[in-house]
Every structure is written in structure tokens, then in C-alpha cells.
């Protein structure tokens, strides 16, 4: 002990480590610059858009598109975005989770399985605009017209075509996050269930998936918020771009096979308008609405995750 005390002053750095301090400050500066961009973005959007939202209140949310900026609202856009998100949830999540279950629980480590994994990782990196082209070819053109040249199953540039395209777009993200959370379930749990005589499907249904649910949910909700913000694939699959848009009373099937638009499309349209009211007031107001919805979505993910984790 006395030896340690004797040598201690020599161990202590003699001078302040200015270089080290400068390095740490530079790193912190990088992080703070990121936040500065975030702050600038949010304050600019709110400075531009809040006036419209505050003046018009819910009337902005319930008005339909119009050529007059004073009457134009985001009603159809919100409806379209929510329908698209719901559609993605119904199509992409079961398919994505099923794929993840196959890869993690059923597939053996063969060449085909490795190819499937590689393929999914690559799909996750394909730009969204390319998915738009896929949707245009398959869902708008191929399935959108029948042999005689009339309307096909999807009805051409329809909500159905856009929804299917977005579902395929987020599928790799859902698969990857679900796979990761399934892989994190300890194999002892599975072995315990097998020991009790459960079949593989029973193990998947009662042990593997329920234990992986917090991770799966988080991943899927994040995928949903990504789908809500995507624009490029919707442009290509014919989401409505303009200020006239009529949706007469429709049945559910007609709605899905009919014209549609979505919040990001309306933002893209307004931001490209020549009229200042559209470009600099309505577009940012719609951005606030979009940010609010995606943020709610992400907050929902966090709440769901903590609730599931606590109940365990």
C-alpha cells in the first residue's frame, strides 16, 4: 500500500492532455452538428408551417385538396397514408415474420438458405425508387390490365398497387429484425419445450415467437413508419399528384382499386408548386402532420416494447 502511494504522483499525468481534450471536443462537436441540423430542420418546418395549422386547426386536416391554397387540406392524404400503412401491416408483417421463422427455426444451414439470407440483405439495400419500378411493372401494368386490355385485379394506378409495392419495400426490414429477435431467444427454452414433447410448430407458436415479440414489434413498427414516409415508389405506382382529387362514396373494394394519394405525395406536390402559399405554407404544414404521425408510430413502438418486456 505504501509503495502504491509513493509511485502514484508519477503515474498521474503531468500535464493536461490538450490533444486528447481537443479530440474529445471534436467528436462531441460532430454529434452536436447532427443535432444542430435536426434543430434547424424542425424549427424551419415549424416556423413555416405552424401558422397554417394554428389558423385553420382541424379544418386543414379535414379539407380536401383544392387549387385554392386557402381551402386546400390533407384529408385524402391522411386517409391514403393510413390505408397504405394498414395494408402494409396486413401484408408485409405476416409474410415477413413467416420468412424469419422459416430462416431461423426451420431452415438448415444449406447453400440455398445462405443464398436466401444474402438475397434478403441485398433486397434491404435496393433503392426505394427501384421498388417503384417493380410495382409499376407488376402491380400497375401486369396485374392492372386484363387480357382484353380492361382493368385487371389491382385496377391499375390504385391504392392496392401502391400498398403492395410498399409492402414489398419494407419486407426485408421486417424479416431482418424478426430474424434477429428470433435468434436472440435462448435455445434452452426451445429444448425445454421439445423435451416436453412439443412438435416444431408448437415450439415456434408457444415459445420462439412469443419470446421474440418485443423485438419483432419494434422492427415492424419502425418498418411501418418508413413506409409512411416513402415517396418515390408512390410516384412510380401512380399515387395522385395534383390539386384536383375526387373520391366519391366508394365501397371498400372500390377504394382499394381506385385513385389514391398519400401525405408524402402531397408534400412533394406542394413543395414543387409555383404558388408561394403551397410551397412555403401548406407543404411545411403537411410535413408537421407527417412528422407527428411517424413520431406517434415510433413512440408506439417504444411503449409496446416496454410493456412486453415488463410482462415477462
Amino acid at each position: 500500500m505504501s509503495v502504491l502511494v509513493a509511485t502514484e504522483p508519477r503515474l498521474r499525468p503531468q500535464r493536461t492532455d490538450w490533444a486528447g481534450l481537443a479530440f474529445a471536443m471534436a467528436l462531441l462537436l460532430c454529434l452536436l452538428t447532427c443535432f444542430a441540423f435536426l434543430a434547424a430542420l424542425l424549427s424551419q418546418v415549424f416556423a413555416d408551417g405552424w401558422g397554417t395549422l394554428a389558423d385553420r386547426g382541424t379544418e386543414f386536416l379535414t379539407s380536401e385538396l383544392s387549387t385554392s391554397p386557402r381551402r386546400s387540406g390533407v384529408a385524402q392524404a391522411i386517409k391514403g397514408s393510413l390505408l397504405l400503412a394498414g395494408f402494409v401491416a396486413v401484408v408485409a408483417f405476416p409474410l415477413g415474420i413467416a420468412t424469419a421463422v422459416y430462416l431461423e427455426e426451420y431452415a438448415k444451414n444449406t447453400r440455398v438458405t445462405r443464398l436466401m439470407r444474402l438475397n434478403i440483405r441485398n433486397l434491404a439495400g435496393v433503392p426505394s425508387v427501384v421498388y417503384g419500378l417493380l410495382g409499376l411493372t407488376v402491380f400497375v401494368q401486369l396485374l392492372g390490365t386484363d387480357m382484353a386490355g380492361g382493368e385487371g385485379i389491382t385496377g391499375g394506378r390504385s391504392l392496392l398497387a401502391g400498398g403492395l409495392t410498399l409492402s414489398i419495400l419494407v419486407l426485408p426490414v421486417v424479416i431482418i429484425t424478426a430474424s434477429e429477435s428470433l435468434a436472440a431467444v435462448p435455445s434452452v427454452l426451445r429444448e425445454g419445450a421439445y423435451g416436453l414433447g412439443a412438435t416444431q410448430w408448437e415450439v415456434v407458436r408457444t415459445v420462439a415467437v412469443p419470446n421474440a415479440i418485443p423485438g419483432i414489434l419494434t422492427g415492424t413498427v419502425l418498418a411501418l413508419s418508413r413506409a409512411l414516409g416513402e415517396t418515390a415508389p408512390l410516384i412510380l405506382t401512380g399515387a395522385f399528384l395534383g390539386n384536383f382529387f375526387r373520391t366519391p362514396d366508394q365501397s371498400v373494394i372500390e377504394t382499394f382499386r381506385g385513385d389514391y394519394t398519400a401525405l408524402p405525395m402531397v408534400i412533394y406536390n406542394w413543395a414543387g408548386e409555383a404558388k408561394k402559399e403551397f410551397k412555403l405554407e401548406l407543404a411545411p404544414a403537411a410535413i408537421i402532420v407527417l412528422l407527428a404521425i411517424t413520431l406517434l408510430c415510433n413512440a408506439g413502438a417504444v411503449i409496446l416494447r416496454t410493456r412486453f418486456e415488463r410482462s415477462e
Binding site: A98, G125, G229, Y268
Partner: protein
């Protein structure tokens, strides 16, 4: 022994249970195969129309100056240079910011600050690209670009590039941070043990150990930047066409922005058939194919580097 044989038979369970097992297994296999089908569908849908495009046009128009698809000018170099400039600027922004932020979070921040700072970075990652496009022409252009060059207009490749840079910074940060945190603690302790300072440990020990992951993060970010559409479509100008330019202060177009403007143009070719079913329409698929191949190559290389990090530790 005989008893065991009989038991063995009963151990396989009821025939119904086994049949159900087989059906479920096949259903999951079908789900797994659907992702392969998607890849095949992407390649087929791009390839078919691209070949049609190359057959229908005069190949000299691929090198004519300027990209004006509706006038029959399909100069690829205009778009390639545009994409290169935007991606280059984005990487100049995202590399220091992303690496710096990741290093701070992984090596310097204490757990409590990290718990606050990391979600804020994730918020930035969750901002839709269309919003960053608006931000690029509304805030970056007047406050950054026009400060550098007063002659620059509201729309320029530079403001689009900075916007894309802000967009991919969280990606660089998150992949790099994972790589840094995967470096075993023992390496750092050994470095401290021989008297190295924190900065030396970070730069000479942790960084080299995590280099594959860092390279991967940059490659994946570059691939994402090349494929980014909406920021460029809103902020770079040049809708409808663009002259050849290497000046980032000018308006310009990238591969992706050209696709967006083709699809949202006045003759609304997204409807398919009809008015737009000309060379301009099929050029969309040719560009899509090029983009797909470029990002596929980059993702494949990036993936290799990520796999190397996993193998090592």
C-alpha cells in the same frame, strides 16, 4: 428391446399431428421463397424494358450532351456526374459527422448521456427523405450554399448533396458504433495498461480493430446516397432535363432524380401505356437497372466487410 421398438413407433406421434407439421413447414418455406421471387421479379421487370429501350433508340444519343429524355437526348454522363457529385458531397458531410458521433457515443459518452443522445440520433434517422428535401431547398440552400457562393440559386447539386449527407449520417453513425462496440474491452485495457492515452487508444487500437465495420458503414452509406431520390428531386432542380455540369453550385440531375421527374412529369407516364409509352418511358427502366446494379455491387462489398467484423469477434 422389443418393447423399445413398439415405443419408438408411438413416439413419432399421431399421424394427424405429423401431417399438420408438414403443412406448416411447407407454408413457412413458401414465405421464405417469396423473397427470392421478389428479386427475380425486380431483375426481370428491369431487364425486359431496358433491352427494349436500348433496341429502340439510337445508341449515339446515350452520349449526346445533356439529359432531355423527351427530346431523345439520353446522355448518361450527365446523370452519372450528377450522382457522383451529390454522393461525393454527401459522403464529405456524413463521414466526419457520422464517424465522430459514433466514436463519441461508443468511446467517450458515459452510459447516462448515451441513453439521451442516441435516441436523438435515431429521431434524425427517422425523418422521411421528402422532409429533408424540403429542408435542403428551404434552409440549406439560403443559409449554407448561398453563403459559400452568392451566385448560387435556390436549387443546386450542393444543397441536395448536403441534404443527402444529413440523411445518411445516422446510418454511418449506427453501423460504426456497432463496430466500435464489438471491439473487445481487453484490447482497450491492454492499451491503457501500457500507458496509452485515451485518444491514442481510440485512434491506434480501437479504430484499426474496427476498420472493416467502419469501411462497411461508409460503403453502405454511399449506396444509400446514390439511391436517394426525394431529396435530390426537390432540392437539385433540373426537373425535365439537365445540361452537363460539373459545378456543384449549378442545378443538375442524378440518376434517381431523373427517374422521379420522368414519373411525375406532365404526361404522367406512370399510368403506363398511352401517351408516355415512348423511349422516355422505357429510359426509366434502363436507369433503374443501372441504379440496381451499382447499389447491388456496393451492398455486396459492404456486406463482406460487415461479415468480417462478425467473424473476428
Amino acid at each position: 428391446m422389443a418393447a423399445l421398438v413398439i415405443d419408438d413407433n408411438s413416439l413419432t406421434g399421431s399421424a394427424r399431428r405429423r401431417r399438420k407439421e408438414r403443412i406448416v413447414r411447407r407454408a413457412f418455406l413458401c414465405a421464405g421463397l417469396s423473397s427470392m421471387a421478389i428479386s427475380v421479379a425486380i431483375v426481370l421487370s428491369l431487364l425486359g424494358k431496358s433491352i427494349g429501350f436500348l433496341r429502340n433508340i439510337d445508341l449515339n444519343t446515350l452520349t449526346d450532351a445533356g439529359w432531355y429524355p423527351r427530346l431523345g437526348k439520353f446522355d448518361l454522363s450527365t446523370l452519372f456526374i450528377g450522382s457522383l457529385i451529390v454522393t461525393g458531397i454527401a459522403m464529405i458531410i456524413a463521414t466526419p459527422l457520422g464517424l465522430g458521433a459514433a466514436t463519441y457515443l461508443a468511446e467517450y459518452a458515459n452510459p447516462r448521456t448515451r441513453k439521451i443522445l442516441k435516441p436523438m440520433l435515431e429521431i434524425l434517422a427517422g425523418i422521411p427523405s421528402i422532409v429533408l428535401g424540403f429542408f435542403a431547398f428551404r434552409w440549406i440552400a439560403p443559409n449554407v450554399v448561398q453563403n459559400l457562393n452568392a451566385d448560387a440559386g435556390l436549387f443546386s447539386l450542393l444543397s441536395a448533396g448536403i441534404g443527402v449527407g444529413v440523411l445518411v449520417t445516422p446510418l454511418v453513425a449506427s453501423v460504426t458504433e456497432d463496430a466500435l462496440r464489438a471491439v473487445p474491452r481487453t484490447l482497450r485495457e491492454a492499451s491503457y495498461g501500457i500507458g496509452a492515452r485515451k485518444v491514442t487508444t481510440t485512434l491506434r487500437v480501437v479504430f484499426p480493430a474496427a476498420v472493416s465495420g467502419i469501411v462497411a458503414s461508409l460503403i453502405l452509406a454511399a449506396s444509400r446516397a446514390i439511391g436517394e431520390t426525394m431529396v435530390v428531386a426537390l432540392a437539385a432542380g433540373g426537373s425535365g432535363g439537365a445540361v452537363f455540369t460539373t459545378d456543384p453550385f449549378q442545378e443538375g440531375q442524378t440518376i434517381t432524380a431523373a427517374m422521379a421527374s420522368l414519373a411525375s412529369g406532365t404526361d404522367s407516364i406512370a399510368g403506363g401505356g398511352g401517351k408516355g409509352a415512348g423511349a422516355a418511358f422505357s429510359s426509366l427502366f434502363f436507369l433503374g437497372l443501372l441504379l440496381f446494379l451499382i447499389t447491388l455491387l456496393l451492398n455486396f462489398i459492404g456486406d463482406r466487410f460487415v461479415a468480417r467484423v462478425r467473424e473476428k469477434y
